[in-house]
């Protein structure tokens, strides 16, 4: 425990950096994946290629992607933005599917009702479809968040500092405690972000609990309940 206590400051600093890198990648991932997922959902023909392409990118091991991206687009491999770009791609790969699946889950009748009430497609998307798809998207965001945080540690191999530094440094110094502290910090950070996402979901989707409760009740009374 002595190493951990002596280096709490370092661990905290690295955690903050790690969190920053992961959050930026996650937010960028959401920003890209929502329009892309909607596009893929809307046009059957592009859905296949979009899911396939993001799936293929997801298949490429991170260390290889961290080298290939800068080589293709001509920027420095050892920069923090390179790591964030690669993490963003992985997040997009997870999220595009969730967005398309979430939009699938929106009841067609609800969509038609919104159209009949005069909602233009854009307004219908933001005010009706996206909120109804949100639970499925949130599930995807949680998966993406946790795996992004774990994955970011690879950045240390291309010289980007974050909690992964504790692994390489710990190996060099043969300090089991340091490596252990790194693993625990990453896992705790992932759990913390996951819990925050769940809470955020409750805050942003207060209707979800209400509908769930109602669905349970109506199922009990025999009417068809729709659980979100």
């Amino acid at each position: 425990m002595t190493w951990i206590l002596d280096n709490l400051g370092l661990i905290l600093n690295l955690t903050v950096v790690h969190l920053r890198q992961s959050v930026i990648a996650l937010v960028l991932g959401i920003v890209v994946a929502v329009p892309l997922g909607r596009f893929a959902w809307r046009y059957r023909l592009v859905r296949g290629p979009v899911i396939l392409l993001t799936g293929l990118l997801y298949t490429i091991p991170s260390l290889a992607l961290l080298i290939l991206l800068p080589a293709l687009f001509g920027y420095s491999a050892t920069s923090e933005s390179n790591l964030v770009a690669a993490l963003t791609i992985y997040a997009v790969a997870i999220l595009v599917r969730s967005v398309a699946d979430g939009l699938d889950a929106v009841d067609a009748d609800v969509r038609r009702a919104a159209t009949a009430m005069g909602y233009a497609p854009a307004r219908r998307f933001w005010t009706v479809e996206l909120p109804l798809a949100a639970p499925v998207i949130l599930a995807g965001v949680r998966v993406a968040a946790v795996s992004t945080i774990a994955l970011a540690t690879v950045g240390t191999l291309i010289g980007v500092t974050n909690l992964g530094y504790l692994f390489t440094n710990g190996l060099d110094r043969r300090l089991i405690e340091e490596v252990f502290a790194g693993v625990v910090a990453v896992v705790l950070l992932a759990i913390l972000v996951d819990v925050l996402l769940v809470l955020l979901g409750r805050l942003l989707m207060p209707w979800q609990r209400a509908t769930n409760g109602r669905a349970k009740r109506s199922r009990a009374t025999g009417t068809a309940g729709v659980s979100a």
């Binding site: 859905r47 699938d104 795996s147 540690t153």
Partner: protein
């Protein structure tokens, strides 16, 4: 794009094809570690997953394991085990890491494969007088196979990615040109290694995709279903209960 031509030049240099770090040797190491650890993980996880799927007991444990595994940084786990085992036992420590990393996906693939089967099918099999063993072997195993292969696919890709990083602890494999080249700033070598690793992963992924498709029983395919297909990539899926109910098989990507 002269970076890429440099990489090609490095790849075709005869120097890369001889000696103890020859490319075929590195590929062999990569494949050996991957196959061995996925097999060991399968021997442990698949029967356990089937048991969970068949009996419906212990489901929460399986879900918790596959969820929690996502949060563990494989690179950190690798180095932790290397230090715990002692630096002389690197291959053993690495193998244990890979096995541990492969287990969650395989467990999830095995149990969701059985769990996703329509209960009426199993009831019908039982009503026809099949013994529990026959129900498992003739119905549950066959119908669950595509999802199991999906789990195998996820586990294998996960291990391939982690073996790449394991070059950092001198395990060899195709990650070696990358890991060794970065501090030396030998970008031809680094890029060539990255291309090889990416190529290996994509080829393996393609083979598993084909296997998954082939594993859908003819009857299910004829029924227009493909409902047991684990990763209906690019195919439109029946709406509703798309992801939420079976999110566990979603490919886990770590390092």
């Amino acid at each position: 794009m002269n970076l890429f031509s440099d990489a090609v030049r490095w790849l075709t240099d005869p120097e890369q094809w001889t000696g103890s770090y020859a490319l075929p040797t590195l590929l062999g190491q990569h494949l050996l570690y991957t196959v061995l650890s996925v097999l060991i993980a399968a021997v442990i996880a698949v029967p356990a997953g089937w048991l969970i799927g068949h009996t419906g007991r212990g489901r929460e444990v399986a879900v918790a394991i596959s969820g929690a595994a996502r949060a563990i940084p494989s690179f950190g786990l690798l180095i932790l085990l290397v230090l715990l085992f002692g630096v002389l036992q690197v291959p053993a420590a690495a193998l244990v890491t890979f096995v541990l990393l492969g287990i969650p996906s395989l467990l999830a693939g095995a149990y969701t494969g059985i769990e996703a089967i329509d209960r009426r099918v199993v009831d019908a099999a039982r009503a026809m007088g099949m013994t529990p063993w026959q129900v498992f072997w003739k119905v549950e195993f066959r119908l669950g196979l595509p999802l199991l292969i999906g789990g195998l696919r996820a586990a294998t890709l996960q291990v391939i990615a982690t073996v790449t990083i394991a070059a950092y602890v001198n395990l060899g494999g195709l990650g070696w040109p990358i890991i060794q080249g970065i501090p030396l700033r030998r970008f031809d070598q680094v890029l060539a290694g990255a291309v090889l690793v990416a190529g290996l992963a994509l080829i393996v992924d393609l083979l598993f995709a084909l296997a998954q498709r082939a594993a859908v029983p003819a009857g299910v395919r004829a029924a227009g279903g493909g409902r047991q297909d684990a990763e209906p990539r690019g195919r439109r899926r029946p709406a509703s209960r798309a992801r939420l109910n079976t999110p566990v098989v979603s490919r886990q990507h770590s390092e």
